[in-house]
């Protein structure tokens, strides 16, 4: 049982116009086995929340705390956060030319576990995980994200999540740009990880469509850098019908 606790998080970013506060006091608690959908209009700070938790150097935390099972996440380096059990599935994963997917996965697994995985079971695990995500075995020999289609990139993110077995996973707009077949495959992967490892999920999305495939336990509406409203799955249905206009008018 793990808990990610975000308290009064304030985050700024440097822009050509000066320092800008993006997150203005975010409170959120995610436990193992829970799926929290973070929904909101573009520019509301959803991605900033994701990248701040993962430790991207672009963002400065000015106030508040993030802990994982009581440990101060903000004190950790980027790789330490991953080793502690956090995972960020990125919206735009970058290419790392010349580094094969299989080498990358093995290196990451070794780093997370602190020891190299047993070769025989590892090869089997990778093969199985790739089959589940309908990925061609030849994928392993390609450069990381090199020339991947949008759908391939997202499946590759979920592949990593399934193999690295984090405690808490943040999915940053994993659904955007996917056709329905790819969305279904990716969603199956997320549900599988949740069922087998009790993963806690922060599901950041702009659209409600993914919530047909990944059932949220909680829905948080994110507006202007903080949580404007929260509730159960019924809140997503209301958003689907009404959109975000109601929040934007009052913000």
């Amino acid at each position: 049982m793990s808990t990610l606790e975000i308290r009064n998080l304030h985050v700024t970013v440097e822009t050509p116009e000066g320092t800008k506060e993006i997150l203005k006091g975010v409170d959120l608690t995610i436990n193992s086995g829970e799926t929290h959908a973070i929904m909101g209009p573009n520019g509301s700070g959803k991605s900033t929340l994701a990248y701040s938790i993962a430790g991207h150097p672009k963002y400065t935390i000015t106030e508040g705390s993030v802990t994982l099972d009581g440990e101060d996440v903000l004190e950790m380096s980027v790789d330490e956060r991953a080793k502690a059990g956090l995972f960020l599935a990125m919206q735009y994963p970058v290419e790392v030319p010349g580094v094969s997917v299989s080498n990358f996965l093995r290196t990451a697994k070794t780093a997370i576990d602190g020891e190299a995985p047993k070769l025989r079971t590892w090869v089997k695990d990778v093969k199985g995980a790739m089959e589940n995500l309908r990925m061609d075995p030849a994928f392993g020999e390609r450069g990381v994200n090199e020339g991947f289609s949008g759908g391939e990139k997202k499946r590759h993110e979920i592949l990593q999540m399934e193999l690295l077995q984090p405690k808490i996973s943040i999915l940053d707009e994993t659904d955007s740009g996917l056709d329905v077949d790819a969305l279904r495959i990716v969603s199956e992967g997320v549900n599988r990880a949740k069922d087998t490892t009790g993963l806690g999920i922060m599901l950041i999305t702009h659209y409600t469509r993914i919530l047909r495939y990944i059932k949220p336990d909680f829905v948080h509406v994110f507006v202007a850098g903080r949580v404007a409203e929260q509730g159960g799955p019924e809140l997503a249905e209301r958003l689907e019908a009404e959109g975000y206009d109601r929040y934007l008018a009052s913000a």
Binding site: V96, V99, L164
Partner: protein
């Protein structure tokens, strides 16, 4: 970052790219007479990036006092390494020297060493020649002669230290194949100015790989000229410049006859405040060279602030009847987003840097085609990266 790509360029008689030389590359002087070439000042087109002050002793028209220690692998039947007197050496050199350093290297080398592979000899194992500098000035002249339909791999490794200049003449007879690997693994105070001139006979195949890691100044000019139809040349280069190192690679591919193919692929990493790399790639497609297919590429990865990579591709095309002609040059900073991505998967900063740099060079290393060299190169690149980490810690 700049990228130019003209893979399917169809060009007129006066087509050229990049910094246009004041005249055609074809007009550049070549001569065994060193006096034809004044002492470079650094203002000349072909010396403008070079630290000419460090090359002073190489420009001096004086006998040299030092020598390199030669260690050679056992030579199989059909392969000979012989000393050749000066007159004969000149006659057997495929092209006259193209600059003062090269002309003086021939003049003061006291003859040449000739590695000769007899016609139809196929040498399975790489022939290795280790040249170790023991200090002082050294002038060298080397002939590599591959007989008709012969095939060989030759690995020449330079270590130790010297102020060394050389001319390497590579003669590929019809249908010959040569994989020539030149490794510059000098100590950190070595100065090396070399010229490699290759002539490719009909249907011959040259793979030339240059790896420059060591030395204070390394300046290697490689020229390949096609003398018969149907020949191909692949020139690969890998360099890694640290603080205080100047690594310069100039290339010239001369398409003078029809239906030949050339590929030039050079990649370099730079780290440290005064690291400097220079790449100049000239390709000339003469009017007679119909059906030419050529592409040249240079990529540089700048790992730290203050390093400088100069990259100048030039393409001169005198006929429109070609298969393809293109070039690309790109110099990029070490990518922080790549770093973040890898580290967000638990991979440490040091290891992430290693992965990215190894990845950058990976395809190139696999082109060398000599497993022992490839393996040792991967290790040396790791050492270079470790050195970068030390420098970063000092900052």
């Amino acid at each position: 970052m700049t990228v130019t790509d003209h893979t399917q360029a169809t060009a007129d008689a006066a087509h050229s790219h990049g910094i246009v030389p004041d005249k055609s590359r074809a007009d550049r002087v070549v001569s065994f007479d060193a006096d034809v070439f004044p002492v470079p000042t650094g203002r000349e087109e072909n010396w403008r990036f070079s630290p000419v002050r460090d090359l002073r002793s190489i420009f001096a028209d004086e006998p040299a006092d030092g020598h390199l220690e030669w260690t050679t692998s056992e030579l199989p039947a059909g392969v000979a390494l012989t000393e050749v007197p000066a007159d004969d050496a000149r006659a057997r050199t495929v092209r006259e020297p193209g600059d003062r350093a090269s002309a003086l290297a021939v003049k003061h080398s006291g003859g040449a060493m000739a590695l000769t592979i007899a016609a139809n000899t196929v040498v399975e194992e790489p022939i290795t020649i280790d040249l170790r500098g023991t200090g002082g000035d050294v002038r060298g002249h080397l002939l590599v002669e591959i007989g008709q339909s012969a095939e060989a791999t030759v690995v020449i490794t330079r270590t130790g230290t010297a102020r060394y200049s050389e001319l390497v003449s590579v003669d590929l007879r019809d249908n010959a194949g040569l994989n020539l690997v030149l490794l510059q693994q000098w100590d950190e105070d070595a100065i090396h100015a070399g010229e490699v001139v290759a002539r490719l006979g009909r249907d011959s195949r040259l793979r030339g790989t240059v790896v420059t890691l060591g030395g204070k100044v390394v300046r290697l000019n490689t020229s390949a000229a096609f003398a018969g139809e149907g020949a191909s040349v692949d020139l690969f280069g890998l360099y890694f410049a640290d603080s205080g190192q100047h690594q310069e690679h100039q290339l010239f591919v001369d398409h003078a006859v029809p239906k030949c193919t050339s590929r030039v692929t050079y990649k370099g990493a730079l780290a440290g405040k005064t690291a400097h790399s220079v790449w100049i790639g000239d390709v000339l497609i003469r009017a007679a060279a119909e059906g030419t297919d050529t592409y040249e590429l240079n990529r540089n990865l700048v790992l730290t602030d203050g390093a400088r990579a100069d990259s100048v591709p030039n393409l001169e095309i005198e006929t429109g009847e070609i298969e393809g002609a293109g070039h690309a040059s790109a110099t990029g900073r070490f990518d922080e987003e790549q770093m973040f991505y890898l580290r967000s998967r638990g991979i440490s900063e040091d290891q992430a840097r290693k992965l990215v740099v190894r990845g950058f060079f990976a395809d190139l290393i696999h082109e060398i085609g000599v497993p022992a060299v490839e393996e040792s190169l991967l290790k040396q690149i790791d050492l270079e990266i470790a050195h970068v980490e030390e420098e970063l810690e000092h900052e």
